[in-house]
């Protein structure tokens, strides 16, 4: 899986890979285009094991 992906938006934001070194959830979530379905994005772009972990850990993060 590529570590970074260009997305066509007005500002052409770079979506960060949540598993890259020194990328925290704040940076990851801010890199997603506005209105992105985070869970769907994760399921489509990560392995099943990574997605399971990420979805669960982000739920905990959002409650902190």
């Amino acid at each position: 899986m590529a570590t970074q992906k260009k997305v066509d938006t007005e500002e052409s934001k770079i979506i960060l890979n949540a598993f890259d070194d020194n990328v925290n959830y704040k940076m990851f979530l801010e890199s997603l285009p506005e209105g992105t379905d985070v869970e769907l994005h994760i399921i489509e772009n990560y392995t099943e094991e990574q997605a399971d972990f990420l979805i669960n850990d982000l739920k905990i993060y959002n409650n902190q």
Binding site: N17, D21, N22, M27, F53, D57, I60, Q64
Partner: protein, 338 residues
């Protein structure tokens, strides 16, 4: 605390010995699972060193300097911990323990109580010391961890680890144990090699240990001292269940040799030691770089008892020891669940 006792007035015989509660022994001390720095009265500096060497093309001319020694000091500063409870032997006068009390109303001392009940204080204190050593979190470190921003990759703490650290009861004596030191190293997130974790079950424990094993630096296995996997107690049962699965799903992933106290469980040649590490975490590191600093390891398993005042029957039990956990070479350690 006074004696909590539901006695039956002694009417005849009483079975001996008295049945004791089940508790974990302090294997960390008994088996020497880490490096013990005894005779540490107060602050003691522990230093780690490495040397970077960089080969350059020979020119015959004066070369620029490249590489050099890298040193790191950490201070072991043991916290002083005290346990104390008081009681009155009078509470035993109507019970089985009156059988060995000397004649005379002043005499309410029971040697059976001393040897079979009070003596339990020593191993229980020792067990608590072990718990503090591995799983203690000071309130200050909990606050520091709470201030970190979670993330999934190397260089961030997982939200699950943050939640776990916040959920532990802060150690009353302010002890930071091994996990605390690894997660938060002095002023920042620890430099551990991170392996993200999940809920470990008998069905996935082999796969999870494979991830942990794969994350260990390869050169660690060529060194004179091999790393050890420090795992929560509960993993022992999961490992044995996984090894003994029936039918097609059976895979002997863990090697189990010996029995009882001599039992050794390993994964791909790496010994697993079961310690009171919080559930959800496994730490892999060389034993020699994890320091258990104390004034005297004998303190942990001993206690003092006597009368509080000469003109009363109130007795006290006290244990005092010092303890600090220090983890060196943090960048070599693998933390599952961190």
């Amino acid at each position: 605390m006074a004696i909590t006792y539901s006695p039956i007035a002694i009417r005849g015989e009483a079975v001996s010995p008295i049945i004791q509660e089940i508790f974990f022994l302090n294997k960390t001390v008994e088996k020497g699972l880490v490096n013990f720095a005894d005779d540490v009265k107060a602050s003691t500096i522990i230093t780690e060193t490495a040397v970077n060497v960089v080969g350059q093309a020979y020119t015959g001319e004066r070369l620029n300097s490249l590489g050099g020694p890298v040193l790191k000091d950490r201070v072991a500063n043991p916290k002083k911990i005290e346990y104390k409870y008081t009681f009155k032997m009078e509470a035993l006068r109507q019970s089985r323990f009156n059988r060995d009390m000397a004649q005379g109303a002043l005499n309410i001392d029971s040697s059976e109580f001393n040897t079979q009940v009070l003596q339990l204080t020593a191993p229980k204190t020792s067990q608590d010391a072990q718990l503090k050593f591995w799983a203690g979190f000071s309130a200050a470190t909990q606050a520091s961890i709470a201030a970190l921003t979670a993330g999934a990759g190397q260089g961030s703490i997982t939200a699950a680890a943050k939640a776990a650290a916040a959920g532990y009861t802060a150690d009353l004596a302010g002890v930071d144990g091994v996990l605390s030191r690894v997660l938060y190293d002095e002023t920042a997130l620890g430099a551990y090699i991170k392996v993200t974790g999940t809920t470990v079950t008998a069905a996935n424990i082999a796969a999870e240990y494979a991830k942990i094993f794969a994350a260990v630096k390869p050169e660690s296995f060529e060194a004179a001292e091999l790393p050890v996997m420090y795992a929560p107690y509960a993993h022992r049962q999961l490992i044995l269940i996984a090894n003994n699965a029936v039918g097609a799903s059976q895979q002997i992933n863990f090697l189990v040799t010996g029995a009882g106290a001599a039992e050794v469980i390993s994964y791909n040649g790496v010994v697993i030691e079961f310690v009171p590490f919080p559930t959800g975490f496994v730490y892999v590191q060389r034993p020699s770089v994890i320091y258990f600093s104390t004034d005297s390891t004998a303190d942990i398993a001993s206690f003092e008892t006597g009368k509080v005042d000469n003109d009363s029957d109130v007795m006290f039990v006290r244990t005092i020891y010092t303890l600090d956990a220090t983890v060196m070479a943090q960048a070599d350690g693998v933390l599952y669940g961190g």
